[in-house]
């Protein structure tokens, strides 16, 4: 502003005035563009590839399933069930990540098959969603009875 309002005399001053004003206009336009991206998506819900919204890692972890398993012993007590040990699967293999509801149902089916007829396996599972965790399986019923 200072060099905009303190106008000198002569062609050089006029040029400097113009350069300063142009720079201010460009600065304002570029800053407005920077702000427009996140405002458009995060406040007005407009999604476009042209603007960057800076919603980093906002989709990572969505769809992840947290599952825990228990099995009822003959004395009636429920104890934690290690699905890797029961299915003879490596801990860092494909069984580490249960990818979907269908995948969870498949794991339950395999566990029930290995546990044998009459087994009582309880499953608690929740799904990662944008709003937090959504319960998709409760342990109030025997999962093998489904």
């Amino acid at each position: 502003m200072a060099d905009i309002v303190s106008i000198g005399t002569g062609a050089e001053s006029a040029w400097r005035l113009s350069a300063g004003r142009l720079r201010l206009i460009a600065f304002t336009a570029l800053a407005a563009f920077m702000i427009a991206g996140p405002v458009a998506e995060q406040i007005f819900g407009v999604r476009t590839a042209l603007l960057r919204s800076w919603t980093m890692f906002s989709a990572i972890g969505l769809g992840v399933i947290d599952a825990s398993f228990e099995i009822r012993r003959p004395d009636g007590a429920l104890v934690p069930l290690d699905r890797f040990e029961m299915l003879g699967a490596p801990r860092n293999g494909g069984l580490k990540w249960i990818q979907s509801r269908e995948d969870l149902a498949s794991v339950i089916k395999r566990l029930c098959a290995v546990a044998g007829q009459g087994a009582d396996i309880r499953v608690r599972a929740r799904l990662g969603i944008r709003g937090g965790w959504q319960t998709i399986h409760t342990d109030d019923q025997n999962a093998c009875a489904d």
């Binding site: 800076w54 919603t55 580490k96 709003g131």
Partner: protein, 295 residues
């Protein structure tokens, strides 16, 4: 009426100070030059391996690779530095918009690629070629031939100010996006932890650390957004900010994002103060480009 007049004068003075900071500050060109060199290296770090000539032998692929390597090499050595910065930034944006979004190379659509491209374009608005560059060498040689003093390593810093604005916008809206119950409760961090590390087995004792880390991340990002531009608060925020990016780099696939942010932190500092640090490192006393307080 008098109060209104005082308010108007106060707002006017504030606006004048802001405009002075934004577009009128002149200072040492060494900070800009260091960022220019760092950006060229980050471009190579992120993409050089993917753009080697045998990787994509289609005309478009070869054209992209040729532009990428020539533009970034010129940016690195500082030959026609500002034009090279525009060229490198344009290549980065072409990779982001055309090859990323249009042709479906999904990793090229991530925020770290956009930040690199935009940073190159913004550094083109600085005197990034007046120091540590072939441009500088040629200018000094020319001055010697003419019997004059070497040109000053100084220039208008409005490009650095725009980098400051970009970083503050980035931090603010990164925090704003997380300012909801799902994130602050720790649930979103838990999900990310399970996604990358734990699989479908929720580790015992994760809930409290996740909640505390979530709140801390959001609070830190707001502080970085609003505090880093100001000298008084900056001194307390630079180390936490760099530590935050180091943790992100070690724990998540952020590619060049952390390194780019750390490099761009140079834009926050008074350029003449950076000059003095460089002079001290060289053991040469106050740098010849330093001319008192600038910002």
């Amino acid at each position: 009426m008098i109060a209104d007049w005082r308010n108007w004068r106060s707002a006017s003075a504030w606006a004048a100070r802001f405009v002075g900071w934004a577009v009128e500050t002149e200072g040492s060109s060494r900070s800009s030059a260091l960022i220019r060199i760092g950006l060229a290296m980050l471009f190579w770090s992120r993409w050089a391996g993917e753009l080697l000539l045998y990787m994509d032998r289609s005309p478009a692929g070869l054209f992209l690779a040729a532009n990428f390597f020539v533009a970034t090499a010129l940016l690195f050595i500082g030959y026609h530095s500002r034009a090279a910065a525009v060229w490198a930034g344009a290549v980065g944006l072409a990779m982001y918009y055309y090859f990323g979004f249009q042709l479906g190379r999904e990793p090229w659509t991530h925020h770290h690629t956009y930040l690199l491209a935009v940073a190159a374009l913004l550094i083109a608005l600085t005197p990034c070629g007046r120091s540590y560059s072939l441009d500088r060498y040629l200018a000094v040689m020319h001055a010697e031939r003419m019997g004059g003093p070497p040109p000053a390593e100084r220039g208008n810093l409005w490009g650095l100010r725009l980098i400051v604005v970009q970083l503050s916008v980035l931090y603010f809206f990164a925090a704003f996006d997380k300012s909801n119950h799902a994130f602050l409760s720790g649930a979103r961090l838990e999900q990310i932890f399970l996604w990358y590390y734990a699989g479908s087995d929720y580790p015992a004792g994760l809930a409290w650390p996740a909640t505390m880390a979530s709140v801390a991340v959001v609070a830190l990002e707001y502080c970085l957004a609003l505090g880093l531009p100001f000298r008084r608060s900056r001194r307390f925020l630079v180390v936490p900010g760099l530590a935050f990016h180091a943790i992100l780099y070690l724990t998540l696939p952020v590619y060049t994002f952390s390194a780019t942010m750390a490099l761009l932190y140079l834009a926050y500092f008074d350029t003449d103060a950076v000059d003095e640090v460089i002079a001290r490192l060289h053991g040469t006393g106050p740098a010849p480009t330093a001319r008192g307080e600038v910002s």
